[in-house]
Structures are given as C-alpha cells and as structure tokens.
Subunit: 142 residues, 4 copies
C-alpha cells in the first residue's frame, strides 16, 4: 500500500495567470507545482530557502510533465497535492495533482524530476538530514 505523504497547498488563480481563452495559461501549472513542492518540504520539516542558503543544496529541475484535464479559471481556489515519488541517489521525483477546491475535480496532474546540485550546478548528494526526511516521506508499506 502506498503511504507516501501527501501535502496540500492552496493557490488562488490570479488575473495575470489567465489568457485570452479565458482560462489559466498552461505554463502557470508548472509554477504551482513548485509551490506544492516547497510546501511539501516545509511539512517535512525544512525550508527550501534555507537548504539553498545554509547547505548550498539546490533541487534543479531536469524533467517536467503535465497533463491537463480541465481548465482552471480566474479566482478559482485550487489545491496543489504533492508527494515525493522516488529518491534515487541525487535524483528526486515529485508527483502533483491540481484540484479545484470547490468540487475536488482534478484539473491537471504531473511529475517533475530533479537532481541535487550546488550553486555551480555541480551534481552533489543530498545532505543526510534531508535524505532521511525524504526517505520517511516515501516509505511504502506492505
């Protein structure tokens, strides 16, 4: 049974995020994924800002995927549901669902894959304190 920790972050759609079709422009979902990811880290006990500042540990994006199911609209209240999917060495994969709060309809889902790098973009390993927290967030149970 999958018991990955799932964290929910609220987002309200901004006017600036809509386009002339009257709905949210698709690249904004990728920005929202980041909000979910950072909120997941926060719930895991650390702040991404401090990971960068204090440990020179950056989670650089190497792959993004998003599947759009229904449009998000101006002023919609959304929930970004995020979980860590894998951690393999310096490689971390997150999974996301963008849910409309009102009726729980899933508007989009996606994944992002990351490698841990220093500020020079050199591959590095995730410091132990973070690796332990990630491992705890993704443990599966039988």
């Amino acid at each position: 049974m999958n018991t990955h920790i799932t964290v929910e972050a609220p987002v309200r759609v901004r006017y600036a995020e809509t386009d002339k079709m009257g709905v949210v422009y698709h690249s904004n979902f990728i920005v929202w994924f980041e909000i979910g990811r950072v909120e997941l880290l926060r719930q895991m006990g650390f702040r991404y800002r401090d990971m960068e500042r204090e440990d020179d540990c950056h989670i650089a994006v190497v792959d993004v995927r998003c599947r759009y199911k229904a449009p998000a609209r101006y002023d919609d209240e959304l929930i970004i549901r995020t979980q860590v999917k894998h951690l393999r060495g310096s490689m971390i994969t997150f999974h996301y669902e963008v849910v409309r709060a009102e009726d729980k309809v899933i508007l989009a889902e996606g994944e992002t894959m990351h490698i841990v790098v220093n500020s020079q973009f050199e591959k590095t390993t995730l410091p132990d304190k973070y690796a332990r927290a990630f491992a705890a967030a993704i443990k599966d149970e039988a």
Copy 2:
C-alpha cells in the same frame, strides 16, 4: 527519412525570466515552446490569431513535457526549433528543441500535445485548409 518541416524562432532571454539561481526559471521554456509553435504555423501559411478569430479554432494544450539539459542564461540568444510530430484527428503533437544560438548547444527539448476545440472548449475538427497544411508539414518520405 524524416522530412518534417522544422522552423526556427529566435528568442532573447529576458531578465524577468531568470531566477535566483542565476538562470532561466524552468516554466519559461513552456512559454517559448508556444512562440516556436506559432512561428511554425506562420511558416505553414497562417496566423494563429486568425485561426482563433476567424475560424473559432483553438489548439488547446492537453500534455506538456520538457527535458532540461543545460541552463539558459540572461541575454542568451536562443533558437526554438519546432516541428509537427503527429496529426491524428483532432490531436496534434509538436516537438521542440531550445538551442543556444552561439554554440548550437541544445538546452532543452520537449513535446506538447493539443486538441482542436472551439471557444467553448468543445472538441472540433481542424478545418480543411489547416489540416492540409499540417499534413504537408509532417509528410515523411521513403
């Protein structure tokens, strides 16, 4: 032999597109894909603005994928190389490469999948004049 038409669109990285890592924030590549896509349509003989306005024909995004290989930096001159990959009924797939103009290094590549809809987001078919142009843009030769 693949003879899909490939169109190149120039983009210069804006300061607003960078982030605190000192490189382009990843969601901007998705915006650049759109620039490539629209330029490809223009080279195929029509303007996306007119497709929307005159034929109520909108190419809505249903799936986006991007793989990041090297960072893009402020003021870099980039080339967005775009081709139509498939056209099946109302489903169109585009493929993109983001290339640094200076040394032709591929910074990212990706695909977007679209369905043709009207302004009410109802699935529709691509008007003949566009379908013929798309078919011409993707024909393979032996």
Copy 3:
C-alpha cells in the same frame, strides 16, 4: 481623519518571481497589487469575477505607479495593504503598500488608476450596488 477601509491580503514570494539579482523582479509587485485590489473588493462584499461575468463591469488599468524601498526575497511572507483612494465618476484609484510580515517593513508602495469599462472597452458607469460600496469604503470623517 482618513478612515478609508484598508484590507490586508497575504502573499508568499514564489521562486518564479525572483530574478538573477536574488530578489523579486519588480513587475511582480504590480501583479500583487491586483491581488490586494481583488481582496479589497471581496471584503467590500463582492467578487471581481462576478462583476465581470454578471454585470459586464471591468476595472481596466489606465495608470500604474510603484516606488520600491527594499527588496522582497524568495519565500518572504508579505502583506498587501490596499485601500480605495478616490472614486470620481468612472475613475477609481487604489493605493497599496507591500509589507514584509515578519518585521512590518514597507517594501514598496504604489497606486493604480482605473476606468470602468464593458467587455468592449467602452467607458461605462459603475452599477449602483458597487458605487455605494466604494463610497462606503472611502468615506472620510472629520
């Protein structure tokens, strides 16, 4: 004595909003002003989304001004303090302060001026129910 209603809306700085100087790119403050403005309307009893949809009443921006005093940084919690400054016919002016929640330092302040238009961008008058609410929000007392 100025008794204009002031509404506070929270914003947390997104990674996408930072630039290569390591701070928030300045145009994002203008987007945050809109968040403050919409929250003020909500506290005044109506939703901007419904103003547009049900009353074809749009508050188009004609003038924006922002003075930057100190940089906003990634993951900062901010408060957007908004008030209606003037209402004269179809002309509405809002005033904003962007405040860092942690220490109440004012990072920026600004104004936006708007005219009420319909969806064809033709100048129109603010329907009575809104005009009354605006008048209530800006009344000064001796």
Copy 4:
C-alpha cells in the same frame, strides 16, 4: 532642442502575456520596458549582462510609472522606444513609449527610475566608461 538618443526594440505579444479580457495584462509592459532599456544600453555600446558580471554594476529599479492608452493584443508587433531622460549621480531615469508597429499608435508610455548598486544592493557610482556613454546619450543641444 531635445536630442536624446532614442532606441527602438521590437517585441511580439505572446499568448502567455494576454489575460481573460483578451488583451495584454498590464504588468507585462513593465517587462517590455526592461527590453527597451537593455537594447538602449546595447546601442550605447555595452551589454547589461557584462555590466553586472564584469563591473558588479546593477541598475536597480526604484520607481516605475506606466500610463496605458490603448490595449495591446495577441501577436501584435510592438516597438519599445526608449531614451535616457536624466542622469544625476547614481540616479538614472529612462522614458519609454510602447508603439504598435502597424499604425504607430502609442499604446502606453512610462518612466523608470534606477539607482546604481553593487550585488549587495549598496549604492555605488557608475563607472566612468558608462557615465560617459550615458552623458552622450542625453546631451541636449541649443
């Protein structure tokens, strides 16, 4: 007679820059101002990227103003006309016009005020080579 150098930079409106009113969201004009400003510097003989990298000289924004006269629309070709208005010590003011290429209608005009800072946001003076170029760009003649 005002003989300030005016530089024109082309911009084509992106779909991502439009909003649900069907026109460009207003904060994007501020991003375009930056494109004009950087192009002006380029015509003056230097690259803003190198100013930052080689001389630790950053032109931080302290004040932005924009007046909107007519909407910009998707796929419009625009020209950003930029000139240096003042240089006083560490304080530089630029002036902008956003012009629709097709019919030369001015869609917006604005100013930005900047101070010269180092990467720590400490006020600094403009290195001589830049100061001379700025002076040349703004000289008035009788």
